[in-house]
């Protein structure tokens, strides 16, 4: 357990005054306060592991993309040794941005201000007018490289941290790894992005998006109600007809020590509809054949099944994680969408990048397994764009909600109103639950989001 401090804001408010750990309430002020924002950048984004992108975005030596780790711009580049490096996108000479491009390929990054040059791995190569020793002789060339972050690649996802001697990435994932493996490590070849990410700006605090991404289930019923009115979850007859999405909200929710969460939604009804049989009478293999995970075809199943334990396969055919987050600012969606052509999977990843106390950048990647047939990839992508991201008919509604919360958080009175996370699971894991972590069973609750705030609190009060 880390030793804790209790930061005091300039008006005397203690961090502990903003969150009530007993009654599970958080003051709205947290969603706009500039001082708190600065603390978050230092205590969360400069300390923990941050999701930056996917290795298939930079397949060749010298490829790079520019990304953000909290409020800092970083260069994510593939070096001449084929490894991926993440370095601060700031010239150590006088602080110019090293790369002003979003993407590209170059063996040498030359700062346009005075011409200092760096390798994709961040090493300093040299300064112009070498014989006059422009970079001086007080520091060695080794000391003049770009500041390098520590990198972890997991299932193709690129994470980095400035906490060079801090906890390992495995430690950070903790109990989530058992579940995440079933999402990101399903095939031998792995996944790929289907193109660069969509990006857009929302005038909202990053936490509005991120606490929601920690598996808020309730908002689906109201905010995304159109899904059952005219959208893919419209059902003829009684079941869920007339805009009721509650049948979709049963399952299990998983929350882990480091606030990675996921909503594991029941597949039984879909399997029953597809096969006409009782799921309990079907083997794991029969269930997978009837309803394979997003992007997996029946032909890809044998290889996939070999990669997992019986317990993991049980989860994948019963209640697979379909929506969830990685702390602090990542979200994933591995959803099964009913369409006239059958059930089609969509896979997307988001980063909600903080851009100030009331601004965030929404970054949306769409992915598929490398082995997924091209026709299916194209279908997955089109459905993904239609529902998620910039123009997505589902996420249009989310992105219009967050600015209002952020504005309300500035009101002299409303800043003291509390966000409430009091819908609690009163049961633990369902019988036969195969995986680790804290698990709630039944209708969606607030425990996953509450865990997000608990960990936020833990990091914000940790003593270095």
């Amino acid at each position: 357990m880390t030793e804790s401090t209790n930061p005091r804001l300039s008006d005397g408010t203690l961090l502990s005054d903003l969150i009530n750990l007993e009654t599970r309430e958080v003051k709205m002020r947290t969603l706009s306060d500039p001082e708190l924002y600065e603390l978050e950048m230092e205590r969360i984004f400069a300390k923990t592991w941050v999701f930056l992108g996917h290795e298939t975005e930079i397949p060749n030596k010298g490829d790079f993309v520019v990304r953000d780790m909290g409020s800092d711009s970083v260069l994510m580049a593939r070096g001449s040794d084929d490894n991926i490096y993440v370095s601060l996108n700031v010239c150590p000479h006088r602080g110019m941005k090293i790369s002003t491009h979003d993407v590209g390929n170059t063996p040498v990054h030359v700062c346009i201000y005075h011409g200092w040059a760096f390798k994709p791995n961040g090493d300093f190569i040299g300064a112009p007018v070498d014989k006059e020793c422009m970079h001086g002789n007080l520091l060695t060339k080794e000391q003049l490289g770009l500041k390098k972050a520590r990198v972890a690649i997991y299932g193709g996802l690129v994470f980095a941290t400035w906490n060079i001697d801090g906890p390992s990435f495995d430690d950070f994932l903790g109990d989530a790894k058992w579940y995440f493996d079933t999402l990101w490590c399903r095939t031998n070849k792995g996944m790929e992005v289907l193109g660069p990410p969509q990006r857009f700006t929302i005038r909202a605090n990053w936490k509005t998006a991120c606490e929601q991404s920690a598996s808020d289930g309730f908002h689906v019923l109201t905010l995304h109600r159109w899904l059952s009115e005219v959208g893919p979850y419209r059902k003829p007859g009684s079941e869920g007809g007339g805009g009721d999405l509650t049948p979709e909200m049963y399952g299990s929710e998983v929350y882990t020590a480091h606030a990675h969460t996921m909503r594991c939604i029941e597949l039984d009804r879909k399997i029953r509809r597809l096969t006409g049989k009782e799921p309990s009478e079907l083997s794991v293999k029969e269930k997978l054949e009837a309803l394979p995970p997003p992007g997996i075809t029946p032909a890809m199943l044998p290889e996939m099944m070999e990669r997992f334990s019986e317990d993991q396969l049980k989860l994948m055919t019963w209640r697979p994680p379909q929506v969830g987050n990685f702390f602090p600012n990542g979200l994933f969606e591995f959803v099964y969408i009913p369409t006239p052509d059958g059930v089609i999977g969509v896979m997307a990843l988001h980063a909600y990048v903080p851009k100030g106390p009331d601004k965030l950048e929404f970054v949306n990647w769409i992915l598929a397994e490398k082995d997924t047939p091209p026709e299916l990839k194209a279908q997955m992508l089109r459905l993904g764009v239609q529902l998620l991201g910039t123009s997505g008919m589902v996420e249009q509604d989310d992105s219009d909600t967050w600015p209002h919360q952020t504005l309300a958080a500035k009101g002299a009175v409303s800043k003291n109103i509390t966000l409430k996370y009091q819908a609690m699971y009163e049961n633990a894991k369902p019988e036969g639950w195969p995986g680790p972590g804290d698990v709630g069973d039944g209708f969606t609750k607030d425990d996953t989001q509450w865990r997000w705030w608990q960990y936020w609190h833990e990091l914000m009060t940790a003593k270095n």
């Binding site: 002003t100 491009h101 979003d102 993407v103 590209g104 992005v193 289907l194 193109g195 660069p196 990410p197 969509q198 990006r199 857009f200 700006t201 929302i202 005038r203 109201t222 905010l223 995304h224 109600r225 159109w226 009115e229 005219v230 959208g231 805009g243 950048e361 990647w365 769409i366 091209p374 026709e375 990839k377 194209a378 992508l381 089109r382 764009v385 239609q386 991201g389 910039t390 123009s391 997505g392 008919m393 996420e395 249009q396 509604d397 992105s399 219009d400 909600t401 600015p403 209002h404």
Partner: protein, 189 residues
């Protein structure tokens, strides 16, 4: 292979010798089409607008990147795009707004002005199709916010004559911003 499946059908080039004179009857007809379309969309007459779409509609908005001058032509991405629609998916977008009580991203609706300018019209290889290039500046006002979201873009359209009216058969929208400065593309461009 995937690239081929995702890339929209390439648009015919805009060649000066195929230009239709500004002020000619055909040019004015196109201008009327664009102005009427803007009026319908600005006033939420989406059902009426949908009647102007051909069944083989392709409607796209590529992503862009900030890159060097030398790589200007490669600043577009047409695999993942901001909008990647066909007739069916476009009708779903329209239906979401017209047939539900829960299209919250545009309910209450934004006040929107679609300002169309710099219109150039070209003949194409197909006698019944015109290529139309235009600029579009969209101002979007949400709620009681005191600022406007600006969505400046360029449009490349194919208008097809069906009977005695023009129909929209293809549209590619080239947005100026790399990071779109409005919370969603919940409005039609």
């Amino acid at each position: 292979m995937l690239q081929e499946l995702l890339e929209p059908t390439p648009l015919p080039p805009s060649v000066r010798k195929n230009r239709i004179a500004i002020g000619s009857e055909a040019y004015n007809e196109v201008l009327n089409f664009l102005y009427d379309e803007a009026e319908m969309l600005d006033n939420l007459r989406l059902g009426e607008w949908a009647e102007l779409l051909t069944k083989d509609l392709e409607y796209n908005a590529p992503l862009r990147h900030t890159r060097s001058t030398a790589h200007f032509a490669q600043t577009y991405s047409r695999n993942v795009q901001h909008l990647h629609e066909n007739y069916g998916s476009m009708m779903m977008r329209v239906k979401r707004i017209t047939d539900t009580k829960s299209a919250w991203g545009e309910d209450p609706p934004s006040r929107v002005k679609r300002m169309v300018s710099n219109v150039r019209v070209y003949t194409t290889d197909k006698p019944n199709e015109l290529k139309v290039d235009s600029y579009l500046l969209v101002t979007r006002s949400r709620f009681d916010f005191d600022y406007f979201d600006l969505i400046p873009c360029e449009r490349h359209d194919i208008l097809r004559r069906e009977g005695d009216s023009l129909m929209l058969a293809r549209r590619e929208i080239l947005l100026d911003q790399v990071v779109i400065g409005t919370p969603n593309l919940g409005i039609i461009l």
